[in-house]
């Protein structure tokens, strides 16, 4: 019934409070230790915007009866699924000491994979883009990617356990 109400292939608004899923590789190259949070966060270099960051909309996958493991897309190299709260990305609100980010999020279905109908795009915050430019400065890109990395939680699998000795 829900699939009839929300047909695949049509772009729909992504409400605040919904979740976005992205797959990760459980290998040291993809994680950096955050000694303040006492946990691993994604290596920001894996959060590439070209020109947008690809993620998948949990609500749409759930309508298909799929869970977070579906974004692994059957590729055994990917074993971890991270989750972002849409509100944390774009809503004007403070999350503890974290900065406001203002990342626009939109539903951008494609047919590149079986779950392409749940594809969403995260874009650079317009407020971070200098006048006359198309993307933020490199320094600001690094800041925004790092802030985003800190907001991931894990809904399938887990990053490495042991922190770097001496960190």
């Amino acid at each position: 019934l829900a699939l009839i109400a929300i047909p695949c292939g049509k772009s729909l608004p992504v409400p605040n409070g919904d979740k976005l899923w992205r797959r990760f590789i459980d290998s040291k190259a993809y994680w950096t230790w955050d000694d303040d949070l006492k946990r691993w966060i994604p290596n920001r270099h894996y959060l590439r915007f070209d020109p947008e960051l690809s993620v998948f909309w949990n609500r749409h996958l759930t309508l298909h009866g799929l869970g977070p493991e579906s974004v692994l897309d059957g590729d055994p190299r990917f074993t971890v699924v991270g989750e972002l709260d849409v509100s944390d990305l774009r809503k004007e609100r403070h999350v503890g000491d974290l900065y406001d980010l203002y990342f626009p999020v939109s539903h951008s279905p494609n047919d590149l994979s079986e779950i392409g109908c749940a594809h969403c795009s995260v874009y650079w915050p317009p407020t971070a883009i200098p006048e006359g430019a198309e993307i933020p400065t490199k320094d600001n890109q690094k800041r925004l990617q790092t802030e985003m990395a800190r907001r991931f939680s894990w809904v399938h699998g887990a990053p490495p356990r042991d922190k770097p000795n001496g960190s």
């Binding site: 950096t32 290596n43 270099h45 190299r77 000491d97 690094k142 800041r143």
Partner: protein, 191 residues
């Protein structure tokens, strides 16, 4: 003639003395190096439409690959050395997953180790060591509300630092920012 003959005799005697002296030591006289034996020759596949293709179609490749230095195990007081060395070695040997991030070239991993031993002090907290999306090696700290990255590429090392409390940022060439980086690493060592 007599004088010239005497001079020749003196030089010959001195030369002989030198040989005898050398023979009494463990020094080995090194013959000329055959540079060609240290390379092998192969077709240069990268040359295609180049005007030199016909005359420079072969290229010499070193037969010996540069070796990564052994870990100086005498530095047992270092917080970071063992972990960083191991991670750089893993990146160098391709013992990681490079599906989504490029594997750094040996030149880059070797430079990363040089930068680490030059910039980090024994009490510096251990950084994460990861590849960048450009195939560089990055040392990363998220600690005491600071984000610090030292990124080592084939030609230069750069730094980016960000204070989460104040929003302060600094970045640029590591050489230019070395003083600030050293101060920040000192700060992180005590937090």
């Amino acid at each position: 003639v007599s004088s010239a003959s005497s001079l020749t005799q003196t030089v010959a005697t001195a030369a002989l003395a030198g040989v005898v002296a050398l023979a009494g030591t463990n020094l080995e006289a090194q013959g000329p190096v055959d540079a060609f034996k240290q390379h092998y020759t192969t077709r240069n596949e990268s040359i295609s439409d180049d005007v030199l293709a016909n005359i420079a179609g072969m290229v010499s490749i070193p037969t010996r690959v540069s070796r990564f230095p052994d870990l100086d195990r005498t530095r047992s007081d270092s917080r970071w050395q063992k972990y960083v060395y191991q991670r750089i070695l893993e990146l160098r040997n391709g013992e990681d997953d490079f599906t989504e991030l490029p594997r750094p070239a040996p030149l880059v991993t070797d430079r990363a180790w040089q930068v680490a031993t030059r910039v980090l002090r024994p009490d510096t907290p251990t950084p994460s060591v990861v590849p960048s999306d450009e195939g560089n090696v990055v040392f990363v700290w998220h600690k005491a509300r600071w984000d610090l990255e030292i990124e080592v590429g084939p030609e230069e090392a750069t730094v980016w630092a960000h204070n989460q409390n104040t929003g302060e940022m600094f970045s640029g060439s590591l050489d230019v920012q070395l003083e600030k980086v050293s101060s920040l690493l000192d700060f992180l060592a005590w937090h």
